[in-house]
């Protein structure tokens, strides 16, 4: 266990936000879920007792009927926000006094640093470059992420859950968020920060980042693996394009079926599905399947050393 190395990575001023992220994200996730589950219990209670449902507007639990139904923003909300502002200011002050901006040596185009890392908030994108060609990982995917986020309000057919934490009422939405944000975005930032060392190689935490390390890895395109390489004509451009297209197409069909299965898993989800139009549903399907594609490709790469599935002269997936 190389503690020196571990300390060096965690103590770099660049990485402080990510160390914070490592602790804060699980904490707030847990905190939010605790509140959501508490509310879910209240919802169950209210659903059983219509009388209480009428009088109960504050979605907290427990509750006494003689308490005011509504409270004023000032001072009851503002004072808490003010307190939070003071604490955050304090933290920022201390942070800015103790840690300097992580500037490095003057840029030298003849000599790039190793590992050359993007700013922490872009490390997820950089990590994607390992799995897709730059055009996909650097242009298409970020665009899809942004468009996908913009699309959410227009495809969200579930009216519940506004203004309070709940899990029960928005299961699919929350699970997809957790999967997309925690599982893909945050996780990839963490991998990019702590796992990727010199040569963008995989170092487990505590391993020394040895610049001289050599690893033997051969990554192959899917059509070159023994499973498929025997197919006649597969190594020609049309062969590769058709084969890759078929595989990707097959993935989209299968994954869409799986997502559909999820959408019809119980009455609640079926009810939401029924509220959606065809375009809304197809949009959701497209983004969900594409998002799922990322971990699929990552696993294919990390476990089976598959470089690309669909190889064309114009793009590779």
């Amino acid at each position: 266990m190389d503690w020196h190395q571990l300390w060096e990575i965690t103590s770099t001023p660049d990485n402080i936000p990510i160390v914070g992220l490592l602790l804060l994200v699980p904490f707030y996730t847990w905190y939010a879920f605790r509140q959501a589950l508490e509310n879910d219990r209240l919802i169950t209670q209210l659903e059983k007792d219509p009388a209480m449902a009428k009088s109960h507007h504050r979605k907290t639990f427990p509750y006494r009927p003689e308490w005011p139904r509504e409270v004023h923003t000032w001072p009851y909300l503002m004072r808490i926000e003010f307190l939070a502002a003071i604490i955050v200011t304090f933290i920022l002050m201390v942070w800015s006094i103790t840690l300097n901006a992580p500037l490095e040596e003057p840029a030298n185009p003849n000599l790039t640093m190793n590992p050359a890392k993007a700013p922490w908030y872009f490390l997820g994108l950089q990590e994607m470059l390992v799995y897709f060609d730059p055009w996909i990982a650097g242009v298409l995917m970020p665009t899809l992420i942004i468009v996908g986020l913009m699309v959410i309000p227009y495809v969200d057919a579930n009216p519940l859950g506004n203004g309070y934490y709940t899990f029960k009422q928005r299961r699919i939405a929350i699970l997809s968020f957790c999967f997309g944000f925690l599982g893909l975005w945050v996780l990839m930032i963490v991998i990019g920060t702590f796992i990727r060392g010199p040569g963008w190689m995989w170092f487990w935490p505590g391993q020394t980042w040895d610049h001289n390390k050599l690893v033997f890895e051969v990554n192959r395109d899917l059509h070159e693996t023994i499973l498929f390489s025997w197919i006649p004509g597969i190594h020609t451009w049309p062969g590769k394009i058709i084969f890759g297209g078929l595989v990707v197409g097959a993935y989209y069909v299968l994954a869409a079926l799986a997502v559909h299965k999820l959408m019809t898993i119980n009455d609640h989800t079926r009810k939401i599905l029924n509220r959606m139009g065809l375009v809304q549903y197809l949009t959701i399907q497209f983004f969900a399947v594409t998002m799922l594609g990322l971990p699929v490709k990552m696993l294919a790469r990390l476990l089976f050393r598959i470089k690309y599935v669909w190889v064309t002269p114009w793009f590779n997936i």
Binding site: Y76, R79, I86, M93, S96, I97, E104, D210, H211
Partner: protein, 1082 residues
């Protein structure tokens, strides 16, 4: 759900004052912290400056007290008092007139004040009107012009009223029109100037006496005066606390070093001891660690002269020292120790790397002993054999460039010749006369141009010949080992050269027993199979004496360990008897440049007698017969050794060789037999190894003459990105400060250039650590272990650290790269001086010691046997003569077993067989070093009149200055005991101006010279003889020294003989010292 529901609503009933209070206090504290950080934390120099003011004031107060006491003493002295009295008298004499002038000036001043105002107003008005009038005249408006001129006239007639003070203290009122106003004004101005001039004249004596008193004070006290020191004290007491920065506008460099290093450029010298004394009030108080640190930062720059040449206002600080000059927030950052700062401050022991950054083209630099040593080592230890470094050992590269140039000229020539033919043909068939003329003219022009090309090509050929001669190898010629070496010794040597000869420059290679065998076998079988003539044995005792006196020890050393004496330029000869063949050794000592076989660079092989026989030529090759019989190309006819020819007779050579053969620790027969040397099976493998290890970088080896250097180029090694220095498996250790032997590094992390170089030089194989068993042999690090002391490692590290790309961290305009003139001559000359170890015998720089100077035989009386000091040689010697002398130091073709000038010296100026270019460079070098104009035109000396000649003869032979007592004059018995050169040489050899300065005060030029000083004394503006004047001097009013010099420059051998015939050389005094005494007694 066991949680009870509170009675009151927590949202509305809970108080938040507690958390708010805590948070607010925290916020306030962080604000205080931020303010502290802003004013002190990030500005540590404030602490330095406050403490500096305190300590430096105390330091100055003490200095002022001491200086005042000293000045007091001087004030009491009689001479000073006398001056003071004179000053008083002069003041009194000047006072009345001075007062009158002052009074008058006062009134004039007051009158002028009034008049200036009136006059300026009037003139302004008139000028403005005149301008309008001129403009009207220009536009042709005659009426307006007329009107305006009239207005000018009127304006001039207008009367101003002036109330002016007069000399008697009253006021007078004048009514003045423009013209009288102007003349009154001008009169006053004139009178004022007159009075001021007179005032200066009146005060002249007073001012002069004041200056003399000040001069007397300065001459009798040290350093700054008390008043000046008080000025400094006042300045430091009112010194504002602020960032002190040097902003070099030319390069926009900002250095804030002096914000903490406050004493760097103070006019008084601040030493740490004096400062500590002031800070502790003479040891009464203890200093904290911080205060100690502060004091260390306050001291003066240790090399003031250096700072004068490299004025910080023009160069900044970090240009030379490295570091981050802008950073003032901490010592760590200012010194550039941050891992992302590319130009950290050089460590103390490597400071001189800063010199190398700009002075890479200088071989020898003042003020940088360590760096000079590093460069010398880089060349001498044969680093140049494997590593290219711009400027070092580049003869072969330049030769190639010359040959390329020659080829291009030939191509151009051929092309023009074709064009000439074509032009003539075209001219012959031209339609018109004009056209034909044009073609013929073109042909004519090309013919002329070709003749220009021929001149160019001739020069290039001469350059090529020079370069072939200049190319030297670090190690001996291995082609000749069969004749030179005992075979059994070779494997012993290869296995570990340092064990056999600890001081050798041969490094130890990473060879196993098998490698040693195959390499020895290859070298042995590959060597020339030529015989050297048998030599009879000589006299070892005489050989020892010759060895110790002829100058061998300037380069070679002998004796081991404690007993070692001599120079370290060439090999230690203590065990020569164990390895060498006597016959070869004799030949070598007699003429080390003599090769067994000439080498033809064109055919790339050594020529044999058969090659010559085939062409019917005798097998003779030397500098007079340097061309190849087969193809006429320039041959390598000399051994590529810097060892010169000492012009010994063959008998002397035998004696020395016989003596050297007695130098052994064990009998040669006790070496293990190495029969495998003749095993042809080992040849190819051995050859591969020799190529692999780059042996041909330092040695001449048959078949490998054209091998390239095997190492990496080091010209810019210091600026190589750290990532490209291969720390290999030690990378992590280096970053964590663990040395290769597992101990912690004293300076912490050594992942930097310094660390890399130091470890590499100490053990070049270190970066193969951990890979010994896995790496195939062909991929192993090849650099051999160079056997360096820690000081030598520091010197080489300093050299490499400073070897940076031009412009790496400093502007390229700082590079010292003169393109011509004396600077360039000096720069080039040092390379040759160092190449041939001239400084082994001669003193060439102030403060330098030659290798011979420290030997026992050259102490006391033996000093006179030392080779001449060459400081100022350029001012002394006629460059034409110098050229001749350097070519042939015997100054004779036949009588060579002697020194050309100082025949009385046992030590011999050897023949170096310099190339034409080297001689030119050296002559230019000496002239430039003495600031002599080139080319040199000897001044015409006035011929002596009969009367002058008589006096000169009398001076020349005066018993108080018996010149011919010490100077040689061509009589062998006398010349043996002489200690100075023959006068007959003077005319061609010396420069008259120098000679005059020399006879007047030789000790000033060469301290400790046996030439007596004080032969002449100053009388008015001429030098006269110090001893009682000879009769002819009475009527002579000229300069005696100058006369003597003119006589010496006219002196012929016959005249000299005539003087000796008269017996004047046998002067009563028995040595020059007595002559001096005689002079002094008068």
């Amino acid at each position: 759900m066991a949680e009870p529901v509170p009675h009151h609503d927590p949202i509305t009933s809970r108080s938040m004052s507690g958390p708010l209070l805590v948070a607010s206090i925290l916020l306030l504290l962080s604000l205080v912290w931020a303010l502290y950080d802003e004013f002190y934390g990030l500005r540590p120099w404030k602490g330095y400056q406050e403490y500096f003011t305190e300590v430096y004031s105390k330091f100055l107060e003490k200095a002022i007290a001491e200086q005042t006491a000293r000045e007091e003493q001087v004030t009491q002295s009689a001479a000073y008092q006398e001056l003071a009295k004179q000053l008083e008298a002069a003041r009194a004499a000047a006072a009345p007139r001075e007062k009158e002038i002052q009074d008058e000036l006062g009134i004039i001043e007051r009158r002028l004040t009034v008049l200036t105002d009136l006059f300026a107003t009037a003139r302004g008005r008139v000028s403005a009107l005149m301008y309008e009038a001129e403009k009207a005249s220009f536009t042709g408006d005659a009426r307006a012009k007329e009107r305006l001129l009239k207005a000018v006239e009127e304006a001039k007639k207008e009367v101003s009223v002036a109330n002016l003070p007069t000399a008697d203290g009253k006021m007078e009122t004048l009514r003045l029109d423009y013209d009288s106003l102007e003349s009154e004004y001008n009169n006053l101005k004139e009178r004022k100037a007159e009075l001021l001039t007179e005032l200066v004249r009146v005060r002249e004596t007073v001012n002069e006496l004041n200056a003399r008193m000040q001069e007397y004070m300065e001459n009798n006290t040290l350093g700054l005066s008390a008043a000046q020191l008080k000025g400094l004290l006042n300045k430091v007491r009112h010194m504002p606390v602020e960032i002190k920065q040097i902003h070099v506008l030319r390069t926009d460099q900002v250095d804030r070093c002096e914000s903490c290093h406050l004493g760097t450029r103070e006019p008084v010298e601040i030493t740490l001891a004096a400062l500590r004394d002031a800070a502790t009030d003479g040891g009464k108080r203890k200093l904290s660690a911080t205060q100690e640190k502060y004091l260390r930062a306050f001291v003066s720059h240790p090399e003031r002269d250096l700072l004068r040449i490299h004025d910080p206002e023009r160069f900044g600080c970090s240009t030379c020292h490295g570091g981050n000059g802008r950073a003032a927030s901490s010592e760590y950052k200012g010194h550039g120790r941050h891992k992302y700062w590319l130009w950290p401050l050089y460590y103390r022991e490597n400071f001189e790397a800063g010199c190398q950054q700009c002075h890479a083209r200088d071989m020898v630099l003042d003020y940088s002993t360590t760096l000079n040593r590093g460069k010398e080592l880089f060349r001498q230890r044969g680093c140049i054999g494997c590593h290219r470094y711009e400027g070092f050992d580049d003869e072969r590269e330049r030769l190639q460039a010359t040959q390329l140039g020659l080829r291009q000229i030939n191509l151009q020539r051929a092309q023009w010749e074709r064009e000439i033919q074509q032009s003539i043909q075209k001219g012959d068939t031209a339609q018109t006369n004009e056209e034909a003329q044009r073609y013929y003219a073109r042909a004519e022009q090309l013919r002329l141009r070709i003749s220009g090309l021929d001149a160019q090509s001739e020069q290039l050929r001469r350059d090529a010949r020079s370069l072939l001669r200049e190319d030297k190898k670090v190690g001996p010629n291995l082609k000749e080992i069969r004749a030179k070496i005992r075979p059994d010794w070779i494997p012993v040597w290869l296995e570990n050269p340092h064990a056999w000869r600890p001081t050798t420059k041969m490094p130890r290679f990473r060879l196993d027993a098998h490698d040693v065998q195959v390499i020895s076998a290859f070298l042995w079988q590959n060597a020339l199979k030529a015989e050297v003539p048998k030599q009879p044995l000589g006299n070892a005792a005489r050989g020892k004496q010759l060895f110790e006196t002829r100058g061998c020890l300037a380069c070679h050393s002998i004796g081991e360990g404690e007993n070692e004496i001599g120079g370290n330029f060439a090999a230690n000869l203590s065990r020569v008897g164990e390895k060498n063949n006597y016959d070869y050794l004799v030949r070598w000592i007699h003429n080390p440049r003599e090769r067994l076989r000439p080498y033809c660079p064109l055919e790339k092989r050594d020529l044999t007698p058969e090659d010559y026989a085939k062409k019917g030529l005798p097998f003779v090759f030397d500098l007079e017969h340097p061309t190849c019989p087969n193809d006429g190309s320039e041959l390598q006819v000399q051994n590529a050794t810097p060892m010169p020819i000492l012009r010994l007779t063959i008998e002397d050579a035998r004696d020395i060789a016989t003596y050297l053969m007695t130098q052994k620790k064990q009998e040669p027969s006790s070496y293990a037999k190495a029969d495998y040397l003749n095993d042809p099976k080992l040849f190819e493998e051995g050859k591969a190894k020799v190529k692999f290890y780059g042996c041909a970088g330092c040695h001449e080896i048959s078949g490998l003459e054209e091998e390239q250097r095997i190492g990496t180029e080091l010209t810019a090694e210091g600026s190589k990105p750290i990532e490209r220095l291969d720390f290999a498996l030690l990378t992590e250790d280096a970053k964590r400060g663990i040395l290769p032997d597992g101990t912690p590094s004293p300076r912490g992390k050594w992942y930097d250039h310094k660390g890399f170089f130091e470890q590499k030089l100490a053990d070049p194989a270190i970066y193969d650590k951990g890979k010994e068993d896995t790496k195939p042999e062909a991929e192993r690090l090849r650099m051999p272990k160079p056997n360096l002391t820690p000081e030598e490692i520091t010197a080489l590290t300093t050299f490499l650290l400073g070897s940076v790309d031009p412009g790496y961290g400093f502007p390229t305009s700082y590079l010292y790269r003169p393109t011509g003139g004396p600077q360039k001559d000096i720069q080039e000359g040092w390379w040759i001086v160092s190449k041939y170890n001239c400084m082994g015998c001669h003193v060439m720089r102030i403060g330098q010691r030659s290798a011979l100077m420290d030997m026992p035989q050259y102490q006391g009386e033996g000093k006179e046997q030392l080779p001449p000091v060459l400081i100022g040689a350029g001012a002394r010697l006629n460059p034409d003569w110098m050229t001749k002398f350097l070519e042939n130091p015997a100054l004779s073709k036949t009588d060579t077993n002697r020194n050309g000038v100082r025949s009385y010296l046992q030590v011999r100026m050897p023949t170096f067989n310099f190339s034409e270019q080297e001689i030119q460079t050296l002559v230019r070098f000496f002239q430039a070093l003495s600031a002599q104009e080139q080319p040199y035109l000897p001044p015409k000396l006035a011929p002596l009149t009969e009367q002058e000649r008589t006096l000169a003869r009398q001076l020349f032979t005066h018993p108080a200055a018996p010149c011919l007592k010490c100077h040689a004059y061509g009589d062998p018995t006398h010349d043996r005991t002489a200690t100075a050169p023959n006068f007959v040489l003077a005319r061609e050899r010396l420069k008259p101006a120098w000679t005059e300065r020399w006879v007047v005060d030789p000790a000033k030029m060469i301290p400790g010279t046996s030439m007596p000083s004080g032969l002449f004394r100053r009388e008015g503006n001429r030098w006269v003889f110090s001893a009682p004047h000879p009769p002819a001097a009475r009527s002579y009013t000229g300069d005696h020294a100058e006369l003597l010099v003119r006589y010496i420059f006219e002196l012929t051998a016959e005249e000299q003989r005539r003087l000796i015939g008269r017996g004047v050389a046998r002067a009563p005094s028995s040595s020059a010292q007595q002559a001096v005494n005689l002079v002094k007694s008068h």
